[in-house]
Protein backbone atom coordinates (compact mmCIF):
# COMPACT_ATOMS: atom_id res chain seq x y z
CA UNK A 1 0.00 0.00 0.00
CA UNK A 2 1.50 3.33 -1.00
CA UNK A 3 1.78 6.33 1.26
CA UNK A 4 0.14 9.69 0.77
CA UNK A 5 1.68 13.15 1.00
CA UNK A 6 -0.67 16.10 1.55
CA UNK A 7 0.38 19.08 -0.54
CA UNK A 8 -0.22 22.68 0.64
CA UNK A 9 -1.88 25.25 -1.64
CA UNK A 10 1.28 27.01 -2.95
CA UNK A 11 2.85 23.75 -4.09
CA UNK A 12 -0.20 22.33 -5.88
CA UNK A 13 0.61 24.04 -9.18
CA UNK A 14 3.59 21.66 -9.28
CA UNK A 15 1.46 18.55 -8.61
CA UNK A 16 -1.16 19.04 -11.31
CA UNK A 17 -3.30 20.74 -8.61
CA UNK A 18 -3.49 17.54 -6.61
CA UNK A 19 -4.03 18.02 -2.88
CA UNK A 20 -2.51 14.61 -2.14
CA UNK A 21 0.03 12.53 -4.00
CA UNK A 22 0.72 8.81 -3.62
CA UNK A 23 4.37 7.93 -3.07
CA UNK A 24 6.37 4.98 -1.87
CA UNK A 25 9.45 4.47 0.27
CA UNK A 26 10.65 3.15 3.58
CA UNK A 27 11.49 6.44 5.29
CA UNK A 28 10.20 10.02 5.31
CA UNK A 29 13.21 11.03 3.22
CA UNK A 30 12.45 8.35 0.64
CA UNK A 31 8.82 9.46 0.37
CA UNK A 32 9.92 13.05 -0.17
CA UNK A 33 12.50 11.90 -2.72
CA UNK A 34 9.79 9.99 -4.58
CA UNK A 35 7.64 13.13 -4.54
CA UNK A 36 10.36 15.34 -6.01
CA UNK A 37 11.21 12.63 -8.55
CA UNK A 38 7.61 12.78 -9.75
CA UNK A 39 7.41 16.59 -9.54
CA UNK A 40 10.86 18.06 -9.95
CA UNK A 41 9.64 21.67 -9.71
CA UNK A 42 9.00 21.17 -5.99
CA UNK A 43 12.63 20.53 -5.17
CA UNK A 44 13.89 24.11 -4.92
CA UNK A 45 10.97 25.13 -2.74
CA UNK A 46 11.42 22.23 -0.31
CA UNK A 47 15.22 22.00 -0.18
CA UNK A 48 18.11 24.42 0.09
CA UNK A 49 20.94 24.36 -2.44
CA UNK A 50 22.76 22.15 0.06
CA UNK A 51 19.95 19.60 -0.08
CA UNK A 52 18.53 20.27 3.38
CA UNK A 53 14.83 20.77 4.02
CA UNK A 54 14.15 24.50 4.28
CA UNK A 55 13.47 25.56 7.84
CA UNK A 56 10.03 26.95 7.01
CA UNK A 57 9.00 23.63 5.46
CA UNK A 58 7.33 21.53 8.15
CA UNK A 59 6.78 17.83 7.55
CA UNK A 60 4.39 15.82 9.68
CA UNK A 61 4.19 12.04 9.77
CA UNK A 62 0.54 11.51 10.53
CA UNK A 63 0.30 14.31 13.17
CA UNK A 64 3.89 14.32 14.42
CA UNK A 65 6.52 16.82 13.37
CA UNK A 66 9.40 14.77 11.97
CA UNK A 67 11.85 17.10 13.79
CA UNK A 68 10.74 15.32 16.97
CA UNK A 69 11.04 11.88 15.40
CA UNK A 70 14.07 10.81 13.41
CA UNK A 71 13.70 13.60 10.86
CA UNK A 72 14.09 12.32 7.31
CA UNK A 73 15.39 8.99 8.58
CA UNK A 74 12.05 8.31 10.30
CA UNK A 75 10.73 4.93 9.12
CA UNK A 76 7.24 4.86 7.65
CA UNK A 77 4.64 2.13 7.67
CA UNK A 78 2.24 1.23 4.93
CA UNK A 79 -0.64 3.67 4.96
CA UNK A 80 1.14 6.41 6.93
CA UNK A 81 0.41 9.93 5.73
CA UNK A 82 2.90 12.77 5.38
CA UNK A 83 1.81 16.39 5.36
CA UNK A 84 3.89 19.31 4.13
CA UNK A 85 2.77 22.38 6.09
CA UNK A 86 4.24 25.83 5.50
CA UNK A 87 5.38 28.28 8.08
CA UNK A 88 5.00 31.76 6.64
CA UNK A 89 7.58 34.28 7.79
CA UNK A 90 8.96 37.66 6.85
CA UNK A 91 9.92 41.02 8.14
CA UNK A 92 11.45 44.37 7.44
CA UNK A 93 14.81 45.13 5.87
CA UNK A 94 16.42 45.75 9.24
CA UNK A 95 18.19 42.91 10.92
CA UNK A 96 19.80 41.60 7.77
CA UNK A 97 21.80 44.68 7.14
CA UNK A 98 20.33 45.54 3.79
Amino acid sequence: MPNTINIPTPLRPFTEKKEAVEVSGATVGELLADLTKKYDGLRKHLYTDEGKLRNFVNVYLNDEDIRYLQKEQTPVKSGDTLSIVPSVAGGTVDGYGD
Partner: protein, 136 residues
Protein backbone atom coordinates in the same frame (compact mmCIF):
# COMPACT_ATOMS: atom_id res chain seq x y z
CA UNK B 1 -0.01 39.48 -12.60
CA UNK B 2 -2.50 41.42 -10.55
CA UNK B 3 -4.26 41.06 -7.26
CA UNK B 4 -7.63 42.64 -6.69
CA UNK B 5 -8.87 43.55 -3.23
CA UNK B 6 -12.59 43.20 -2.66
CA UNK B 7 -14.66 45.68 -0.66
CA UNK B 8 -13.32 46.24 2.83
CA UNK B 9 -10.13 44.22 2.33
CA UNK B 10 -7.77 47.19 1.95
CA UNK B 11 -9.25 48.79 5.08
CA UNK B 12 -9.04 45.54 7.07
CA UNK B 13 -5.33 45.09 6.29
CA UNK B 14 -4.55 48.71 7.17
CA UNK B 15 -6.56 48.52 10.38
CA UNK B 16 -4.70 45.39 11.44
CA UNK B 17 -1.34 47.04 10.74
CA UNK B 18 -2.31 50.09 12.78
CA UNK B 19 -3.68 47.95 15.60
CA UNK B 20 -0.47 45.98 16.05
CA UNK B 21 1.92 48.92 15.46
CA UNK B 22 4.80 49.12 16.33
CA UNK B 23 4.75 45.37 15.83
CA UNK B 24 4.17 43.58 12.55
CA UNK B 25 0.76 42.15 11.81
CA UNK B 26 0.05 39.18 9.57
CA UNK B 27 -2.93 37.45 8.08
CA UNK B 28 -4.25 35.31 5.25
CA UNK B 29 -5.78 36.46 1.97
CA UNK B 30 -8.78 34.37 0.98
CA UNK B 31 -10.60 34.59 -2.31
CA UNK B 32 -10.71 33.20 -5.80
CA UNK B 33 -9.28 33.90 -9.25
CA UNK B 34 -7.06 36.72 -8.10
CA UNK B 35 -9.73 38.54 -6.10
CA UNK B 36 -9.34 38.72 -2.32
CA UNK B 37 -12.79 38.45 -0.78
CA UNK B 38 -11.82 38.37 2.86
CA UNK B 39 -8.85 38.42 5.19
CA UNK B 40 -8.15 36.25 8.18
CA UNK B 41 -6.06 37.97 10.83
CA UNK B 42 -3.47 35.69 12.42
CA UNK B 43 -1.30 36.01 15.52
CA UNK B 44 2.30 36.99 14.94
CA UNK B 45 4.10 34.17 16.74
CA UNK B 46 7.67 35.17 15.99
CA UNK B 47 10.22 34.82 18.75
CA UNK B 48 12.71 37.03 16.92
CA UNK B 49 11.15 40.39 17.78
CA UNK B 50 7.72 41.28 16.39
CA UNK B 51 8.76 44.80 15.40
CA UNK B 52 10.80 43.37 12.58
CA UNK B 53 9.55 39.85 12.03
CA UNK B 54 6.36 37.91 11.66
CA UNK B 55 5.71 34.20 11.76
CA UNK B 56 2.58 32.27 10.90
CA UNK B 57 3.03 28.93 12.64
CA UNK B 58 2.01 25.70 10.88
CA UNK B 59 -1.17 25.21 12.92
CA UNK B 60 -2.39 28.70 11.97
CA UNK B 61 -1.45 28.08 8.35
CA UNK B 62 -3.60 24.94 8.39
CA UNK B 63 -6.47 26.88 9.93
CA UNK B 64 -6.17 29.48 7.16
CA UNK B 65 -6.40 26.75 4.50
CA UNK B 66 -9.43 25.34 6.28
CA UNK B 67 -11.10 28.77 6.44
CA UNK B 68 -10.48 29.27 2.74
CA UNK B 69 -12.07 25.91 1.93
CA UNK B 70 -15.05 26.66 4.17
CA UNK B 71 -15.52 29.97 2.36
CA UNK B 72 -15.52 28.13 -0.96
CA UNK B 73 -12.34 29.90 -1.99
CA UNK B 74 -8.60 29.51 -2.07
CA UNK B 75 -5.75 30.71 0.06
CA UNK B 76 -4.30 33.37 -2.23
CA UNK B 77 -1.45 34.51 -0.02
CA UNK B 78 -0.60 36.48 3.10
CA UNK B 79 -0.32 40.08 4.17
CA UNK B 80 1.96 41.66 6.72
CA UNK B 81 2.98 45.13 7.84
CA UNK B 82 6.36 46.86 7.82
CA UNK B 83 6.31 49.24 10.78
CA UNK B 84 8.31 52.39 9.98
CA UNK B 85 9.74 50.75 6.89
CA UNK B 86 8.83 50.88 3.21
CA UNK B 87 6.31 48.50 1.68
CA UNK B 88 8.88 46.50 -0.18
CA UNK B 89 10.02 42.96 0.52
CA UNK B 90 13.22 42.28 2.40
CA UNK B 91 15.79 39.58 1.82
CA UNK B 92 14.23 37.85 4.80
CA UNK B 93 10.83 37.92 3.09
CA UNK B 94 12.42 36.46 -0.03
CA UNK B 95 14.22 33.69 1.83
CA UNK B 96 10.96 32.55 3.38
CA UNK B 97 8.57 33.01 0.48
CA UNK B 98 6.34 30.38 -1.06
CA UNK B 99 5.62 30.24 -4.78
CA UNK B 100 2.34 31.36 -6.32
CA UNK B 101 1.24 33.21 -3.18
CA UNK B 102 0.60 36.94 -3.20
CA UNK B 103 2.48 38.78 -0.47
CA UNK B 104 0.79 42.05 0.40
CA UNK B 105 2.88 44.49 2.45
CA UNK B 106 1.54 47.63 4.08
CA UNK B 107 3.89 50.27 5.43
CA UNK B 108 2.80 51.74 8.77
CA UNK B 109 4.66 54.88 9.84
CA UNK B 110 4.20 56.29 13.31
CA UNK B 111 0.94 54.39 13.57
CA UNK B 112 -0.46 55.57 10.23
CA UNK B 113 -0.80 53.21 7.26
CA UNK B 114 0.82 54.39 4.04
CA UNK B 115 1.81 52.47 0.89
CA UNK B 116 0.44 49.03 0.18
CA UNK B 117 2.08 46.76 -2.38
CA UNK B 118 1.83 43.14 -3.51
CA UNK B 119 4.57 40.75 -4.60
CA UNK B 120 5.05 37.29 -6.04
CA UNK B 121 8.07 35.05 -5.73
CA UNK B 122 9.87 34.54 -9.02
CA UNK B 123 9.90 30.93 -10.22
CA UNK B 124 13.64 30.48 -9.57
CA UNK B 125 13.35 32.08 -6.07
CA UNK B 126 15.83 34.79 -7.11
CA UNK B 127 13.56 37.79 -6.44
CA UNK B 128 10.07 39.09 -5.90
CA UNK B 129 8.15 40.67 -8.75
CA UNK B 130 5.69 43.44 -7.97
CA UNK B 131 2.12 42.71 -8.99
CA UNK B 132 -0.51 45.30 -9.68
CA UNK B 133 -2.82 45.87 -6.75
CA UNK B 134 -6.33 46.90 -7.71
CA UNK B 135 -9.62 47.33 -5.90
CA UNK B 136 -12.66 45.34 -6.99
Amino acid sequence: MALSLGPGVDAAIRAHGVETYPNECCGALIGRDGVVVTTYALPNTTEEGPRRRFLVRPSDYQEAEKRAAQAGGDLLGFYHSHPDHPARPSQYDLDHAWPFFSYVIVSVREGVSEDMTSWRLREDRSAFDAEELTHA
